[in-house]
């Protein structure tokens, strides 16, 4: 059982999570473990356990949750969320934890690439000129323009920031 940092810290982090979009249902968890037993990643990798992530969040172990690798191992399959008897929205909760982690400067480098592509191209996978030029050959209509200006205004208005890559793995 990890060392925890007192009641005030627990409450502060729980409140931070439940006040976030996606994190609202955190405190309904009663630690039954249905999530962990439904999780395809946990079956392969015993270091990943969604129940444990929720427990640490409830205990106020913010540093361990947001700077650790665990929250990034979720495959977003929603099995856990589908089956949770307490209606904890676990996959959404993990997004909320990732959002908090990113604000604190922690994330795998690939997220920086996703953000760049979204901001620059309006798509998270770039379409090469070569592939675009092939569309006619396949009988596909030309691609329509992307609403990139509107997209960037929306990103700015909602506080979207591109995560920085960390030196170690750049």
């Amino acid at each position: 059982m990890p060392h925890h940092t007192g009641k005030a810290a627990n409450m502060a982090f729980s409140e931070e999570v439940t006040s976030r979009h996606g994190g609202e249902t955190l405190t309904s968890c009663y630690q039954c473990g249905t999530c962990a037993s439904s999780c395809p990643v946990a079956r392969l990798d015993s270091s990943f356990n969604p129940r444990e992530i929720i427990k640490l969040s409830l205990l106020g172990e913010k540093e361990e949750v947001v700077s650790g690798d665990a929250i990034w191992q979720c495959c977003s399959c929603f099995n856990c969320q589908e089956r949770c008897p307490q209606n904890v929205e676990i996959a959404d909760l993990i997004y909320a934890l990732r959002n908090i982690a990113l604000e604190a400067g922690h994330s795998p480098n690939i997220y920086s690439d996703f953000a760049s592509a979204l901001i620059d191209e309006g798509r998270i996978v770039k379409i090469s000129k070569f592939v675009e030029s092939k569309r006619g050959e396949y009988g596909l209509p030309p691609l329509k323009p992307v609403g990139i200006e509107d997209l960037n205004k929306i990103l700015a208005a909602t506080g979207f920031t591109k995560p920085e890559k960390t030196e170690a793995t750049k």
Binding site: V41, R123, K144, I154, F160
Partner: protein, 291 residues
């Protein structure tokens, strides 16, 4: 003729002309008109939701507004696009407070979410607009010699509360459609388990293990091919076989075909027209069985 706004997303136009060609040809052949709208952007799937959930939802809502303005329902081919857009649509229709909040952002680009359209998965459009019986009637090359392992992926089904495509634990829509084409659906273990696609670049080992598991279990069940509904599942299982071969020295030679490709073949579309070159594991075995 029913008209839909076709939502291509990113991965399909970037990498899978085979999905787009077969989806367009089949829907048009079955009497659904597809409209390409200006200004659709990325749907903002889990990788973007992981960065900023609110931004992702607002961008999804922006795309919904474009279809609302055109007065068209959306057909999404990719499970990821379907999930992002259908989830946002359902959540915003249900939650007035959330709608008001997102509309404050959308006002900055002159948009307002009203909640007047539906977002449907490719399979739902087939069911709602054409139906199993009509599809059965239009089949000219029944897939009767083919054992197909249907693979739903995750985001066609879950979270079911918002997506409502089918029963999330015992879905039948895909199997019923395969049956209408004359194919035999193969049951296999862990059919509804994730392909691992979203863990690529983050946890490659886990991602590949999940894909391999799918290949092991469909092979064991005697499938001639796996059929997918999502470009990420397709990549995980198709290109995934090259990676499994390199890492585990195992060769499955399991063709992966999108459901739309099987549908096109059954409706008599010439395989030459289907951009099958996009497949790393060649689909020749499947084509031969149908011919």
């Amino acid at each position: 003729m029913k008209r839909y706004a076709i939502f291509l997303g990113c991965t399909i136009p970037a990498r899978q002309p085979n999905y787009e060609v077969s989806a367009r040809k089949t829907l048009e052949k079955l009497g659904v008109e597809l409209v390409d709208l200006d200004n659709f952007t990325c749907c903002c799937p889990p990788p973007i939701q992981s960065i900023n959930l609110e931004s992702a939802q607002a961008v999804a809502a922006y795309n919904l507004c474009l279809a609302e303005e055109a007065g068209l329902d959306i057909v999404a081919l990719c499970n990821g696009c379907f999930e992002s857009l259908a989830m946002a649509n359902a959540a915003l229709k249900k939650d007035k407070k959330l709608k008001a909040h997102i509309n404050e952002t959308l006002a900055k680009v002159g948009k307002e979410f009203k909640g007047t359209i539906e977002v449907k998965h490719f399979l739902q459009v087939l069911m709602d607009e054409i139906g199993l019986e009509k599809i059965r009637e239009k089949v000219v090359k029944p897939l009767s010699s083919l054992k197909v392992a249907p693979f739903y992926g995750c985001h066609s089904l879950r979270p079911s509360k918002l997506l409502q495509l089918d029963d999330p634990e015992r879905p039948t829509i895909f199997e019923n459609l395969l049956d209408a084409l004359g194919a035999e659906s193969v049951e296999y273990r862990d059919k509804l388990k994730c392909c691992g696609g979203l863990l690529k670049g983050i946890s490659d080992e886990t991602a590949l293990s999940l894909a391999r598991d799918k290949l092991v279990k469909t092979s064991k069940a005697g499938a001639d091919c796996i059929s997918t509904l999502c470009p990420f599942c397709f990549v995980a299982l198709d290109i995934g076989q090259l990676q499994v071969k390199a890492k585990f020295k195992e060769v499955y030679d399991m063709p992966i075909l999108h459901f739309s490709e099987l549908l096109a073949l059954a409706l008599g579309v010439d395989p030459e027209e289907l951009a099958l070159r996009s497949h790393k594991v060649k689909a020749d075995k499947v084509i031969e069985k149908i011919a």
